[in-house]
Symmetry: C2
Subunit: 185 residues, 2 copies
DNA sequence: GAGATACCGGACACCACTGTCCGGTAGTAC
DNA sequence: GTACTACCGGACAGTGGTGTCCGGTATCTC
């Protein structure tokens, strides 16, 4: 029995399919990495390849949709008035541990408008939290936003490339190093 | 004219071919990255695919051969009695700028014995130079070899993923940050 | 000079992924 | 109930890269 003709929900399954694809992509990218076959995303979503490419013409646009709300949760964090730069580092580290794919997306598609936009949003957060830290005297005035972004990028790379069981240790060491580097003079 | 039958140097061209392959691979990996088609390496070396796979059964063994003497030059550096940890950072940065491939090799083949060996050699250097810096009072006693290795890895990642015209700036910032982080308390 | 040997080069078969295309089906209008 | 529309799913052809296999050639031996 060669797989009896699947139910076809006809028109107006659009939004459902889109959501299913994003959810499936989040799982698959998390497990396999950003270069996972898009095939397997469609399969996991229970959706045809056609629908996948109809909603997301290429891998990057799918990935951007997936990670849009990752960045969103960072923005929520920064919106809380008592959050600090250290919190941002920890949140980024947590996301890098959960899925390497966001880092890969941003680092290898710096030319893509969608991915670029995600990175820009993070920069905004960094600059807000940096200003907050400096005005409260926790962060040295010599520190610039680019320093913070470099630190975030370095941390994310290191974690995403490491063996899973080394990640906690890396996070600890990196936290210590950046604290020293960003301390007031 | 379908490319007249190439000259065939017969037996005993072995070492020549091997050297040509390594040189070609260094160029190609430098230009295209570690994932360059092995095909193109053979072509650049003016050698058949057969010979390539005869000398190097897989991509990693070729890359290890290429980068073996990159590490060698780091070892020479460390052997000079007046060299410091900062020199090592700069040398690593220079290599990352010259070719992203060494970083990719070490970071995505941590299981491969050949690649692992390269990484181990670097760790040895870091620990020597760290001890030297600490005994001369330039480096804080709280710093461990793993911290240095993390710093090296982070620097290398950041540089290898960045746009070429951002690399100098990254190097500068990273140097400043690590200097602060490793300073004596 | 002839035969044997060892090694070379590149054609080719294989594989995995991408992205398109079209027959089919649920929903909608009348 | 019927005809129409919009969208779905998956088959399939195209593409790019890997690694093997074998006919061919230079060197060596006698």
């Amino acid at each position: 029995m060669p797989a009896e003709p699947k139910a076809n929900r006809g028109p107006s399954a659009g939004p459902d399919n889109r959501r299913a694809l994003i959810a499936a992509a989040r799982e698959v990218f998390g497990e396999v990495g950003l270069s996972a076959p898009l095939n397997s995303v469609a399969k996991r979503a229970g959706v045809g390849q056609g629908s996948l490419y109809r909603h997301f013409p290429d891998r990057v646009s799918l990935a951007v949709a997936v990670f849009d709300d990752n960045i969103g949760s960072l923005e929520e964090l920064a919106a809380r008035p008592d959050s600090t730069l250290n919190d941002l580092f920890d949140a980024v580290a947590a996301q890098a541990i959960a899925s390497t794919a966001l880092i890969d997306l941003i680092s290898s598609n710096r030319r893509d408008p969608g991915a670029e936009h995600l990175a820009t949003r993070v920069t905004g957060l960094a600059s807000i939290l940096l200003a907050r830290g400096q005005s409260s005297g926790l962060i040295g005035s010599q520190v610039e936003t680019d320093d913070v972004m470099l630190a975030i990028a370095m941390l994310a790379f290191a974690i995403s490339k490491a063996d899973p069981d080394e990640r906690a240790d890396i996070q600890t060491r990196a936290r210590r190093m950046f604290r020293a580097a960003f301390a007031p003079v």
